[in-house]
């Protein structure tokens, strides 16, 4: 079929040593040309194979032979042995780490990949607007199994034993949540799906709803059977129009096929799902605020207890779970609690989807078993820091979390380790920052977000966060004092202790964690009035180095406020009083005469 007899794939992803990979690619091309094989053999550059750590990788098709740890010097042997004589180069074959056994098949190699897709199993694979594709991929099989072969108690036990914890942020055991909701007696109960994903830079729930909506619908029906509810509600933000449209299509198709609605699969169990729209308020991700918003009230939280499991939507027992949590349910039912609990760490089971954002090469979604380290996530799967810069910090948990630094790179990521490190799992946003990011500004950015999103019900959050933000503004403007740093810390602790809901209780976390990990940066802003990363405009000063300036007047002509003066062919000077620090002069200068201090 192909006009080429053989094709050689070389990974030139950014993950491994990019330079070596390029050399390897060049060498393979040269070798094939040396034997005049360029019309028979094609060498192709590809992205990452996910076997990082053993890169560079070479894959030969047909035959699907995978070579690992290939150096540019190995090119000749691959061509003379494998390509010409058809003998695989044994010493380069993919081997098991401890035993040294050769991994021959694709499946065996696959087990060594860092990513494991459970939640994202069907995303990008099936057509989300065609229920038959979902059914072909196994959707609703778990629901059938639960309805005909299990009691509600039995199904809840499986979820409990699996060790699944809520993926929305807090990490509360899902099985226990279901059990509590099932024990509360009531004529009506509700299953609520929290799809109000609000963290800046997080979009895993959106992707699941857009790529595999039936996974969520099925799991909600399973939950309905377990806790004794006949109605499910999906609370989704109206900013996700595509996810909403696909959900509506999926719900209608499921009804048409008899997989939602009355008497599902002839078992007598009835369950239907409705959609409730949110207006995109961050606080509505908090379950009590979410329920109020669904009832048509203001999206404001109330004190717990009573928990929604006792008194939720319309005062009835309600079980609220996040999209990603629901997406884990069917595989657990089908493959068993033990299978799931064998993945992950001691107290955090299964996988977690992360949305990689910020200064990282491979921006996007990844799914890894709990216990994967930050280093593996950033440097191997994420392809490292953009432009070869130095890693500074990663923010997990969005505006409610904290930052992890270089010293945290090797801790296994799970719920408890992140808490111990002063951050939190949150919904899975992971924003990577490099040496050019100012951590005081980062804290200010997240606080700006919480100030904006605070519902205003309780004073610590409404007033406290505003004052915190003012202090940070002060510091980044070079007006801070050492006493301000103490004030920042004390106020943060008070806000944490006294706020009504999770939003306020966690909003000072970015401040506390940057203060803890990057105190020197705060001190530089306060004492030396300098921003080490060169981000805080008020603290920057542009200078002309006399020795480098040839007096070409280019800078003076481009300056929008006429702050630069000097005679032609004489060194120029910048008047700091007038300068607005726009940087136009630095960009224009061809002699590197303008520097930032």
């Amino acid at each position: 079929m192909s006009k080429y007899r053989m094709q050689i794939l070389v990974c030139t992803g950014t993950s491994c040593s990019a330079k070596e990979n390029e050399d390897l690619y060049d060498n393979l091309c040269l070798e094939t040309e040396a034997f005049a094989l360029e019309n028979e053999i094609k060498v192709v550059k590809t992205g990452c194979f996910g076997l990082c750590g053993s890169g560079p990788i070479v894959k030969i098709m047909p035959g699907e032979v995978i070579y690992t740890n290939v150096t540019p010097g190995d090119a000749a042997e691959i061509v003379t042995e494998h390509v010409l004589k058809g003998r695989p180069v044994e010493r380069l074959l993919c081997r098991e780490e401890h035993t040294g056994r050769i991994l021959a098949t694709e499946q065996e190699v696959a087990r060594h990949r860092k990513q494991l897709r459970i939640v994202l199993r069907n995303c990008g694979i099936i057509d989300p607007e065609n229920i038959e594709e979902a059914i072909a991929a196994g959707a609703y099989e778990a629901l059938g199994k639960v309805l005909t072969e299990m009691t509600p108690e039995g199904a809840i036990k499986i979820i409990r034993d699996s060790g699944l914890r809520g993926r929305g942020g807090g990490g509360f055991p899902t099985g226990l949540k279901w059990e509590i909701a099932s024990r509360n007696k009531s004529d009506e109960k509700y299953v609520v799906c929290n799809a109000d994903e609000g963290d800046p830079g997080a979009f895993m729930d959106r992707s699941v709803l857009e790529g595999d909506p039936h996974a969520v619908l099925e799991a909600m029906a399973v939950c309905g059977y377990c806790i004794g509810a006949a109605t499910g509600l999906i609370y989704i933000r109206a900013e996700y129009p595509l996810a909403v449209a696909r959900l509506i299509t999926a719900i209608n198709q499921a009804r048409e096929y008899g997989l939602l609605g009355k008497n599902i699969m002839g078992t007598g169990f009835s369950f239907d799902i409705e959609i409730r729209y949110g207006a995109g308020a961050f606080v509505c991700g908090e379950e009590t605020a979410l329920i109020h918003s669904m009832e048509g009230l203001r999206g404001e939280p109330t004190v717990k207890p009573p928990f929604p499991a006792e008194s939720g939507f319309r005062g009835k027992p309600s079980n609220v779970n996040n999209v990603e949590t629901f997406a884990c349910i069917s595989p657990i039912i089908l493959k068993g609690a033990e299978w799931f609990s064998n993945i992950g760490t001691e107290k955090s089971k299964g996988t977690k989807v992360f949305a990689l954002a910020g200064k990282i090469n491979n921006v996007g979604l990844i799914e890894v078993p709990m216990g994967t380290t930050l280093r593996e996530v950033i440097y191997e799967i994420g392809g490292g820091i953009r432009n070869g810069k130095k890693f500074k910090a990663a923010q997990t948990g969005g505006p409610s979390g904290g930052c992890l630094t270089e010293k945290h790179l090797d801790i296994p990521i799970d719920f408890d380790n992140l808490l111990a490190a002063g951050s939190m799992m949150g919904s899975g946003g992971l924003i990577v920052m490099d040496e050019d990011d100012c951590m005081v500004s980062v804290a200010k950015f997240f606080l700006e977000f919480t100030v904006e999103e605070s519902c205003g019900k309780c004073a610590p959050c409404r007033i406290g966060n505003k004052r915190l933000h003012e202090l940070l503004e002060h510091i980044t403007n070079g007006k801070g004092t050492m006493a301000d740093l103490e004030r920042l810390k004390n106020m943060s602790l008070v806000i944490k202790d006294t706020s009504l809901c999770g939003l306020g209780q966690s909003s000072p976390n970015p401040v506390l964690s940057t203060l803890e990990n990057f105190r020197d940066e705060y001190e530089a802003h306060v004492m030396a009035k300098k921003c080490p990363a060169g981000q805080c405009r008020s603290l920057m000063e542009y200078f002309i180095i006399e020795a480098n300036c040839v007096g070409c007047t280019a800078c003076a002509r481009v300056c929008p406020v006429n702050a630069i003066s000097g005679e032609r062919k004489e060194p120029h000077v910048i008047n700091q009083e007038i300068c607005i620090k726009c940087g136009a002069c630095k960009e224009k200068c061809k002699f590197d005469a303008i520097i930032i201090q």
Binding site: M1, G124, L242, M265
Partner: protein
Amino acid sequence: METIKSPADLRKLREEILERANRKENGTKQKVRIRVHSGTSGLASGAKDIYEFLVHELGKRNIDAVVIKTGDMGYCFAEPTIEVTLPGQQPFVFGYVDRVKADEIIEKYIKNGELTEGILPVNYQTI
């Protein structure tokens, strides 16, 4: 559509769907299958245009293919991405697809089985 009345019905339907898909694959007219990853991040980078381009061009060039829209795989850095499965072969995901790239994929890979740059190899395991 008759509703599903029991888990056995569901299994039967599933087998029927799979069989139908296989019959297509094994029949005399084998089809190329293309998935255009059309979630929000795919669409934001132009997946809709690529979908229309593929449907239009494949028809024009007389290539019997099924083109479907799916969600995203998470390769946001390389969107738009498409997955191409030639009859009887393993699928390949191509990233950074624009009209030029899509044309290259049709001419080189779909017509001649020649791989092009921009392949995103499977980098995960699944269940």
